[in-house]
């Protein structure tokens, strides 16, 4: 597909680019970057004057709930939600039903995405068979089928020996290992962060140590195995510190955090708000600050949403029995832009966190506007003000703690392989 994006501020950290220029896409790939580009007659054009043009945003951690839990989300609706949030690619976690631990299920996702998805969908397979934490899944075949990483997301691989072997094996075949890091014994029956708010509400708390201990184990295992590991959704001061120290001594560890962890504290749980129930739980103000610092100093490599759609019946219940997670694809970019507005990040860092770095971690040929690259582009209006309304969310589920929030900034065009798949 062909497209000319004219006069936008093109920010592409993959080639150190930040300048006003045009982007010409032909046959789905970037053909030319420069000022005053001309395109063949009939080429569709976008006037991006005053807008920001970036490599397509990538959310490396979403749940599309397909197969098996389509009443929450499916590949079509999830991809619409992604496009509306400015994402051109998403990586979807394997805790579907059945789980993605075989070539057959991975192929199902890829084929369904080919016919129904607006954006690129890259499945992540399980680390262990059935996601049960007992023996390794067939990672080679998962990779061959098109999986871009492995994870037992939603639960940790509790057995350290098995995790060691997973890291070694995955390194050999060149597939990313993504760790959901939690010490389940410490989590116990906890349903929110352990702190003053849990004390006041009389809810069982989850201590920060449950995350830190598990993150530390992954770091030591990665160091020992000489293999890379990616830590999903970090949320604590301690996780950030452990990863910062590990990086400083050369351990191949990367990590992500989610917008809610740098935006909300456990105060949001007050009133027993099940839309603030997630795992890991919303933490303290110091943890929120640590996420912002970690994003700014490069400790945290990526912003991912952990987009976790749930049916209203699964959230409109007593707090203890409500399921964990929130939808995030459509609020991620504006919540992240807030960090730019606060002066904590610059736009180049933001684009690295939301596009270039996730591509690198998963080994995708995306996250860049270099000539010859796939023409996935996000055009952002950083000053557009809008209100988050359930009825206007493209996701099938509406479980967001940000409903009613007035946000600033959003994607106004989402372009996949040169084709506009979303326009605000």
């Amino acid at each position: 597909m062909n497209l000319l994006i004219k006069g936008g501020r093109v920010i592409d950290p993959s080639q150190g680019m930040d300048a006003v220029m045009d982007v010409l896409i032909a046959d789905g790939v970037v053909l030319e970057l420069g000022q005053g580009l001309s395109a063949p007659e009939g080429t569709p054009a976008i006037d991006a004057t005053g807008l920001i043009v970036t490599p397509g945003l990538i959310d490396m951690h979403v749940h599309l709930r397909d197969p098996g839990l389509e009443y929450k989300e499916d590949i079509a609706t999830g991809s619409r939600s992604a496009a509306a949030g400015g994402f051109t690619s998403v990586a979807c976690m394997p805790n579907t039903s059945p789980v993605i631990d075989s070539k057959a299920v991975a192929s199902y996702v890829i084929n369904k995405a080919k016919s129904e998805a607006l954006v690129n969908v890259f499945p992540i397979g399980c680390i262990t068979k059935g996601g049960k934490g007992e023996s390794l899944a067939e990672m080679g075949e998962l990779k061959e089928a098109g999986c871009v990483g492995v994870s037992d997301d939603g639960k940790p691989v509790c057995n350290s020996e098995l995790m060691r072997r997973a890291l070694e094996y995955a390194k050999g075949i060149g597939i990313a290992v993504i760790s959901h890091s939690e010490d389940l014994a410490l989590v116990g029956e906890g349903v929110m962060n352990e702190g003053f708010v849990s004390t006041e509400l009389g809810l069982k708390g989850i201590p920060w140590a449950a995350e830190d201990i598990a993150v530390a184990r992954e770091v030591y295992l990665a160091e020992f195995a000489g293999a890379p590991v990616h830590i999903a959704h970090i949320s604590t001061v301690g996780s950030a510190r452990i990863i910062r120290n590990a990086k400083a001594r050369g351990v191949k560890v990367t990590c992500e955090t989610a917008p809610h962890y740098f935006t909300l504290t456990d105060d949001a749980v007050r009133g027993y708000n099940t839309n603030a129930k997630m795992n890991p739980p919303l933490r303290s103000a110091a943890d929120v600050e640590a996420m912002k610092t970690g994003l700014a100093d490069g400790t945290i490599d990526a912003i991912a949403t952990d987009h976790a759609p749930h049916h209203p019946d699964e959230k409109d219940v007593e707090f203890n029995v409500a399921l964990n997670g929130i939808v995030g694809l459509e609020t991620s970019l504006p919540l992240s832009l807030k960090l730019v507005e606060e002066g904590r990040l610059d736009l180049n860092q933001l684009v690295s966190l939301m596009s270039c770095n996730p591509a690198k971690i998963l080994g995708l040929d995306r996250g860049t506007l270099k000539v010859g690259a796939v023409g996935d582009v996000t055009v952002i209006d950083p000053s557009k003000e809008w209100q988050v309304e359930a009825a206007k969310l493209e996701s099938k589920s509406k479980n967001s703690p940000f409903l009613g929030w007035k946000l600033k900034g959003r994607a106004v065009y989402t372009v996949v392989k040169g084709q506009v798949v979303y326009q605000a």
Partner: protein, 310 residues
């Protein structure tokens, strides 16, 4: 002043004036409990549903008697016989009950916040008879009434609360109520049962040693240790708990001479309290139970709008 709340979910939500009003009302209603004919027509024609998702004898009976003494019609529903076992959600249960037009739902539920959830969804009044480890406002009120009767005031009292603070809804309601009314609360218990930031709930001091909490106390409130809940990680043994956190006659001598001993019940004799302490002259445990009926009458009465008592 009147009582303006539709529901009574938490003592945290009540002002000093509102608590005083409830206690004053309970005081005046307690006279009814002394009559030969223990019944007034105040809530005649009102329907109270006691919806108990957790086992309870004294609280449920106390609410039932309170309703009946005010001539309300009281219906009891317990979880083992309810639709919960058939998988019905709390929301659906609430809607079904509401269709029967009750005026008040008195609920006990194992989940903190269940009452807040229910109260937002029903038009009738909701009274919290205990939710998880959150609050137990009728217990807090009856504790305060008992103390006020003994000392004539709540202002400036030193109240020691000893035991499993983390899992205690009684402790939270007592702390909110007492500190709102001007008492100073001293907490003691095993460190594994002392939740983060509890001292921030009000005028609360966390003590390292039970003796420090009991020293010069006006009231010593012993909490029930839930033997079934402690598992293997919170305590080495009941024997050790009893030795360091049980109230025996010797520790009680540290308190003021006229101090009273309280316990929300049921007591584990020999664990939280030595039997001799439970039954001593200073024990106000049965007075608490007696006051429970009057306090619950006051709560039912005020959420119904407080019509004149005949």
């Amino acid at each position: 002043m009147g009582f303006r709340h539709k529901d009574i979910i938490a003592l945290k939500d009540l002002t000093r004036e509102e608590i005083t009003l409830l206690l004053d009302t309970a005081d005046s209603l307690s006279e009814i409990n002394q009559r030969d004919i223990k019944k007034v027509p105040t809530l005649r024609g009102k329907t109270v549903i006691n919806l108990f998702y957790e086992a309870s004898t004294r609280t449920r009976t106390s609410f039932e008697i309170a309703a009946k003494r005010l001539s309300a019609d009281a219906v009891n529903i317990t979880a083992s016989t309810s639709s919960v076992v058939k998988g019905e959600t709390l929301s659906d249960t609430a809607n079904n009950l509401l269709a029967m037009k009750p005026d008040i739902i008195v609920m006990r539920h194992a989940v903190s916040g269940a009452h807040e959830y229910l109260a937002k969804r029903v038009s009738c009044s909701v009274i919290n008879a205990g939710d998880g480890a959150h609050e137990h406002p009728s217990q807090g009120l009856l504790d305060m009434l008992t103390m006020r009767q003994k000392f004539g005031r709540l202002d400036g009292l030193k109240v020691a609360i000893v035991g499993d603070i983390t899992h205690s809804r009684v402790a939270r309601s007592d702390i909110y109520g007492l500190t709102t009314m001007g008492s100073h609360v001293f907490l003691a218990g095993p460190p594994t049962m002392m939740p983060v930031g509890i001292e921030r709930l009000g005028n609360v001091t966390v003590c390292k040693d039970m003796r420090e909490a009991v020293d010069q106390a006006d009231v010593v409130m012993m909490l029930r240790i839930q033997l079934e809940r402690q598992g293997k990680t919170l305590l080495p043994s009941m024997r050790e708990y009893s030795r360091y956190f049980g109230l025996n006659p010797e520790v009680l001598t540290l308190a003021k001479k006229n101090a009273i001993v309280m316990h929300p019940g049921p007591i584990n004799r020999g664990v939280e309290l030595a039997s001799s302490v439970a039954d001593c002259d200073q024990s106000a445990i049965l007075t608490q139970v007696e006051n429970g009926v009057a306090v619950r009458m006051a709560m039912l009465y005020h959420v119904c709008g407080g019509e004149p008592v005949e």
